[in-house]
Symmetry: C2
Subunit: 220 residues, 2 copies
DNA sequence: TATATAAATAACCACTGGTCATTTATAGCT
DNA sequence: AGCTATAAATGACCAGTGGTTATTTATATA
């Protein structure tokens, strides 16, 4: 009764099935990091896993269901890293910078987050969607607690900061999602324009403005 | 020499071709508003225009090239409406509210804006991309000028406000892009969560924080 | 060792965006 | 008025997509 499922073996126990499912997810994440969301094909993923396309649909109802799971995992993973980097007393700038750095360091998190509502949530069972929202809610709470002490905010303020940071992160990192125009054949004015949307300062500066704005609203 | 191109006629002059191209764009926008980005198919669009799929590719190199043009047109259209609603002296809240309202009123603008970098720009000739960025730059400048007087900011601050508002708008309207779960069969905690991301207050509140943050940085 | 079960398969489906050799409307010339 | 060169329009075609399902087959159990 092997607990590891080799290729060409069948996953029969629940444990084996969970293992195979996770193996698919791991392969999917690697493949996703290679080719991105749009070029990601289920047939290719099947080849990478050594399974066949139809088998993948035994483990995930749709392509988007797979991505939703990938998103949940990356959200949890990033949250834990971010929380572990929060310290007792931080400036809003240090906090924002740490949030940005840890989020960017997780290659899958932002690209998945960015496509959540537009694409991923549109081809998923409602039950999965609800489950995903609950995971989100739980992670917001998990981050809000240390945020409250790090930034000396009350609980409601900390929760608002966390939620708002997510919103800002999505907007600010948009420029990183454009095509890779590695060749600097772009005219200078366009390079300047793109440069003025560099995601890191865009995020950090506005995160600070928002956090300080929330803090200032204390007594009102 | 008719200047209007009827169906089953051929567009030969440049003027006729431009007209037909615009007719395709108009049909595309209507169709887009009906079915959204993901369900939009070139074959269906062909049927709606009375042309044939291959003919569409005479006017647009790719599906995304069509969407890029639609985006440019909606950007210009919205800019003009927004500018026309700016007055000499506005609170940052009134300004933000007007920006949000006019942007939402244009059904195509935000859904296209949101997909610009992730999808649209990835299947378009570099020349078109550059052209599109120039249109963007021009509209930012066109909005920044009245913004400067409306909010009593200097030119650099006004430009930063305009650019940052775009970033925030994308993040804040994300929740509107989720699947239409009209049925209130959602559990209450999920409804509350979704409610806490209502795009309008999310945008307006944080826009004010950012504008006031930028204003406060004047003397530094 | 035989059998029931369900995991895995492979052929299949309708569809997609995009291409291109062929057809044909028509502007301009004789 | 009729001819011809041009290029707009067509439709058949392509490789690929996400997803389905009847069939095969590995394997736990009796």
């Amino acid at each position: 009764m092997p607990s590891v499922v080799a290729i060409n073996q069948r996953a029969r126990s629940n444990e084996q099935k969970a293992l195979r499912r996770q193996a698919v997810l791991t392969a999917a994440e690697t493949y996703f990091l290679e080719v991105g969301f749009e070029a990601f094909s289920m047939a290719q993923l099947a080849k990478k896993t050594g399974l066949v396309k139809g088998t993948l649909y035994l483990y995930f109802k749709t392509r988007e269901a797979l991505f939703l799971t990938l998103y949940e995992q990356s959200l949890i993973r990033w949250s834990e890293v971010f929380i572990s980097h929060l310290s007792g007393d931080m400036t809003s700038k240090a906090y924002a910078q740490m949030l940005y750095t840890t989020a960017m360091a997780d290659g899958a998190f932002i690209p998945l987050l960015i496509r959540l509502e537009h694409v991923i949530e549109h081809n998923v069972a409602i039950a999965s969607l609800i489950e995903s929202k609950r995971v989100f809610q739980r992670q917001v709470a998990a981050i809000a607690a240390p945020t409250s002490t790090s930034l000396s905010l009350n609980a409601a303020q900390a929760t608002e900061v966390v939620k708002t940071m997510g919103v800002l992160l999505i907007g600010a990192t948009r420029s990183d999602q454009g095509p890779a125009l590695d060749n600097e054949a772009l005219p200078e004015d366009i390079q300047d324009l793109i440069g003025s949307f560099a995601s890191e300062p865009l995020f950090v500066k506005n995160a600070v403005r928002i956090i300080e704005g929330i803090r200032a609203e204390t007594g009102i």
